[in-house]
């Protein structure tokens, strides 16, 4: 079994009209055993930047702390807020620094840039980025999630429609993956604020 599949995770980030959404499952497992059902993998870095970290749980927690540290340092030195593009670059750098002994995480970054336009990026465990304008997925159920997103996605969705699409895509993907599931959290980010909701899904 791959080390990236030890704990289990499923994260989707999707862009809408002047808004962006990011959703994750909440299972923490140790291979087949489920340890906790409230382990969230999406973290709010600021009102306009969310990061989803899928992979080995210990590195998810370590990276969460590291990212907060680097963000604080940036904002103290530069006296301005990080933008999603720069944040994504910082994350990419942090990962490549450990090129020959990497953190076992595959992150996605979702946010709104200076003009409140959606920003999405995904990365592999050594920081190779991909920038898209529709959706990014990561975790143990990527095959399922790509299929669901490709089918359900439409351009320029309003926040409510984005929430529906994102939730349906995630839930359907989780249900066919043994390692992810046991609850889900969805965040919809608009220029006016963030709405977070818990999804009711199959607890198995």
């Amino acid at each position: 079994m791959s080390i990236l599949e030890y704990n289990g995770a499923a994260i989707i980030a999707m862009a809408g009209k002047d808004c962006v959404g990011i959703a994750c499952d909440t299972r923490l497992g140790a291979q087949a055993q489920t340890v906790a059902c409230d382990f969230r993998k999406v973290f709010k870095m600021s009102d306009k930047i969310f990061v989803g970290l899928a992979g080995l749980a210990t590195d998810v927690l370590t990276m969460q702390n590291l990212l907060k540290f680097r963000q604080n340092l940036y904002e103290l030195r530069e006296d301005r807020e990080l933008t999603p593009k720069v944040f994504s670059n910082v994350l990419s750098n942090l990962l490549y620094e450990k090129r020959f002994g990497p953190y076992f995480i595959e992150p996605v970054v979702a946010g709104l840039d200076e003009n409140n336009q959606p920003f999405l990026s995904g990365m592999d465990l050594i920081g190779a980025p991909v920038y898209t304008d529709d959706f990014v997925v990561t975790g143990t159920a990527t095959a399922n999630m790509y299929g669901m997103c490709e089918t359900l996605y439409k351009k320029d969705m309003e926040p409510d429609q984005l929430f529906e699409t994102l939730s349906q895509a995630l839930l359907a993907s989780l249900d066919r993956d043994a390692l992810s599931g046991w609850g889900a959290t969805v965040h919809i980010i608009t220029k006016d604020g963030v709405t977070s909701r818990e999804l009711k899904g199959r607890m198995d």
């Binding site: 704990n7 055993q33 409230d38 382990f39 080995l56 927690l61």
Partner: protein
């Protein structure tokens, strides 16, 4: 091979561990205490090779003691202790890992509640209502899933622990004759019962 589990209840946490120290076909000792007191209101139940078990728990408890001495008697909350523990495990992971899976239980006077933290040797951390490490999980998690609910009192929590021990003695392959059970509540860390006195040399 070690059995370590814990249950949180209203106003405290119970930690239980088997007392055998064994390797391959030999049992070295059957009165080992695998639950170390970290602070006046928290304890760490550890499972793993004896060297790492002892080294890690002593390292953490002494570092927490020095924190208290250096900071004018300030005691860290259970959440802070758990995160400190995780940090040490995470740093050691890529240098020289401690192969310890642990459960940290503590009581916070400020909230009047107990909290239990599950940590594996990769340094993944999660706050749980009840948890097991090792093979025990295959037997005990389902019992706890069924019987645990919000607002248990100490007797009910001890009953769950006893039920788990009974199940293990009935169905678990390894012979674990002795268990030590400790309670962490507003009165501190106390040994509730043991199969064999750890103080006997």
């Amino acid at each position: 091979m070690d059995t370590v589990f814990g249950v949180e209840y209203e106003g405290g946490v119970i930690l239980a561990a088997d007392q055998s120290n064994a390797r391959s076909i030999l049992t070295y000792q059957s009165n080992l205490d695998k639950i170390t007191k970290l602070s006046p209101s928290s304890a760490l139940a550890v499972s793993g090779p004896n060297a790492d078990l002892v080294n890690f728990s002593e390292y953490i408890s002494k570092n927490l003691a020095i924190y208290q001495l250096s900071n004018d008697g300030l005691q860290l909350s259970t959440h802070a202790q758990a995160n400190y523990c995780r940090g040490e495990l995470a740093t050691a992971l890529r240098k020289g890992p401690y192969q310890v899976n642990c459960l940290l239980g503590g009581y916070d006077a400020s909230s009047g509640k107990g909290s239990l933290y599950w940590m594996d040797y990769f340094a993944a951390l999660s706050k749980v209502n009840y948890g097991c490490q090792g093979y025990a999980s295959s037997f005990c998690l389902s019992i706890m899933d069924r019987d645990w609910k919000e607002g248990l009192d100490q007797d009910q929590a001890v009953a769950i622990v006893d039920k788990c021990i009974k199940e293990l003695s009935l169905r678990f392959l390894m012979n674990q004759p002795n268990f030590i059970i400790k309670v962490i509540d507003k009165d501190g860390v106390k040994t509730l019962k043991f199969g064999s006195d750890p103080a006997d040399t």
